[in-house]
């Protein structure tokens, strides 16, 4: 029993944080958000994308024998948190945390595509069966999509109908996805496929929870900074007890969501994963509301960077069934008498 991250895990997160400090500040996000079309959006993100590629995270969760780094989700969770902190527009979590290891389960069928995407010359994304809208699909060359739980199919993005849709988060480029009669370039079926989808969904859920943690922490920082700077009735609003207590409560929510997310990443136990999603979404939502309210009318405006983090938090909170479905999952476990067996 050792519930601490090791040096390597912490250093990797540190490197990503430094990169994002340089290339993913509010001004960078604003430039991308103001882009009128896809090419100018990509241009606004080009430098950061290049730096990210150099970081060597490709195939982080892909087994070493398939050319990846062979890491576990727990090795990736702090990276996801950093991506959240920065409201990173790039789908680092969706690709390295979810799609790549899923692609690797196709075995030989997906081998050439895996090699192509690992070296960064192409992007692969995945979406659980039943998904109709997918973020960042417009940038992908390959998509793992399926209509059924027990089928995993790899498509060329160009074979699929993708239509741009607006998200509340200006940095999430959504596409409505329609398979029509597209033919996959590889396809597997059967029970192991359905467990591969389940595992992908668990990774996605826990890593999104980690992003929400990062977003929440960032919004808390922004709120504190603003409360020190902004004066009302002649003193910094941050000296009001009501403001202090609201932000202290945000910190409580964040700090008790944190170990839940890490434990979920370490165990991938279904109840822990669902709990992580609930706790992180709740903490991030609380942070967003408190931060917007501390900003007073300012929090309501496009001009403050806070909006980027808040909108990302709202978008991520709905994924994989959303906070409500994950809460229901924990509740169902309770009704089935499964919760008592979690320890010892």
């Amino acid at each position: 029993m050792d519930f601490t991250f090791d040096e390597e895990q912490r250093l990797a997160a540190q490197s990503l944080r430094e990169l994002l400090n340089d290339h993913c500040q509010g001004s960078d996000l604003r430039r991308a958000a103001n882009a009128r079309d896809l090419p100018s959006f990509e241009a606004a993100c080009a430098t950061r994308r290049a730096r990210l590629a150099e970081l060597g995270l490709a195939g982080a969760l892909v087994p070493a024998e398939q050319g990846g780094l062979g890491l576990g989700v727990v090795d990736f969770v702090l990276l996801a948190e950093e991506a959240g902190r920065a409201a990173l527009p790039e789908p680092l979590v969706d690709v390295e945390g979810v799609a790549h290891p899923l692609l690797a389960t196709l075995g030989e069928l997906g081998e050439s595509t895996l090699q192509e995407t690992l070296v960064g010359s192409a992007l692969v994304l995945s979406a659980a069966p039943g998904t109709t809208v997918l973020a960042n699909a417009a940038f992908a060359q390959y998509l793992l999509l399926s209509r059924r739980d027990d089928e995993l199919a790899l498509y060329r993005a160009s074979d699929i109908s993708l239509t741009h849709r607006e998200s509340v988060d200006p940095l999430r480029r959504l596409s409505e996805v329609a398979l029509h009669d597209a033919k996959p370039i590889a396809r597997v079926t059967g029970a192991t496929t359905s467990s591969a989808w389940q595992a992908a969904r668990a990774r996605s859920t826990v890593l999104n929870a980690a992003q929400l943690l990062g977003l929440g922490a960032r919004m808390l920082e922004i709120a504190v900074a603003y409360s020190l700077e902004r004066k009302q009735f002649g003193k910094a609003i941050g000296s009001n007890q009501a403001v202090k207590h609201a932000l202290a409560d945000v910190m409580v929510k964040l700090e008790f969501a944190r170990p839940v997310v890490y434990a979920a990443a370490a165990t991938l136990a279904p109840v822990r994963v669902a709990h992580a999603a609930v706790a992180a979404a709740e903490a991030a939502d609380r942070a967003a509301r408190a931060a917007i309210q501390v900003h007073g009318a300012m929090g309501y405006s496009w001009e403050v960077d806070l909006q980027f983090y808040a909108k990302r938090a709202w978008a991520l909170a709905g994924l994989n069934g959303g906070r409500s479905a994950q809460f229901a999952a924990v509740h169902q476990s309770l009704l089935r008498g499964e919760l008592e067996a979690q320890w010892a």
Partner: protein, 404 residues
Amino acid sequence: MAIDLQYTPKQHALRAEARAWLEANVPREPLPSYDTAEGFEAHRHWETKLHSDRWSMVTWPQEYGGRGLDLIEWLIFEEEYYRVDAPGRVNQNGVFLFGPILMEYGTPEQKSRFLPRLASGADIWAQVWSEPQAGSDLAALRTTAIRDGDDYVINGHKIWSTRAVYADWGFGLFRTDGASERHRGLSYVVVPLRTPGVTVRGIPQLDGESGFAEIFFENARVPVANRIGDEGRGWSIAMATAGFERGLMLRSPARFQRTAQRLIELYRREELTRREQQTAPIDPGVAATVTQCWMDAEAYALSTYMTASRLIAGGSIGAEASLNKIFWSELDLSMHRAALAILGARAELRGLAGVEGVALAKAADEATRWMDGFLFSLAGPIYAGANEIQRNIIADRVLGMPKG
């Protein structure tokens, strides 16, 4: 005449008349947002239409184009208004805030100059209170209106003016005595927003539209005749705007009851879908919130009826403005959060109104309405006096606790 919660025949008749008129006249399709140029004009047209049959300002005296309704009749009208999802009132600042002030403090000339155009929607009014360094603390205002002959010369910077992007006129407080401090030396002045020296700039909101504006004044001149009430008396006139009626008129209970009803519809529809698809029911937390929201919307309505009855019976207003503000703003936020939780991944979709043949269009429209409402509700606990300040007011003025 003990408590009697039955409507009188006269009240029933009013409801029937309002319902018939609204069903015949409310636009079939929702108007575009009044925070766009096109939507603003569409809403101005709706104001004119309302006024043509005296439905625009039902509590105003008949002589000014109203129906002289009492507060309970007004509540009934509002229930009918929200029942049919009639358009938002683009001139609500003029109808509910400025109009009553003008009737009480304006000269006969001012009344005949402003009231008819306000009533008909020919002039749409914006409120021009806040400044960058004075949010909830109006006494910290610094924008000056200095007398120069028959004019005031205005200099300064106002912000968070609702509707000001497209409105014709603004009303607000200005410092007419440049040497004065705090509450003293402020006057209540109305300003045309399309006049030399006045620059209006929209502030894009979280939802991308501009419901608020900043206004920059550089030697803008308005005649002294634009001052309402005595010079230097602006503070007390403005405070008369800040009481119960203001809170009530701008946040009628019917609005929250309608939202609660839409939330229940969303909940029941989703439960039905899940039963059909044999997936897990909606989580008990959201289920409980939906029920609580219905109860709170009812409580707010009942409370308003009780206050209205007391006022009609000659009673006076206590802490209702602060209590109401806290209650409705938290209710509104809670309802919208519950709706977004039910929508799940659909919640992030932005509207596709008018896009034909798109599978997502209905879901996206619904999501947009709830998300915009959510963003708006986030501001609820902020504007018109932060809830924390309302709690201070309750503690200090009602409970008699010592100032901090």
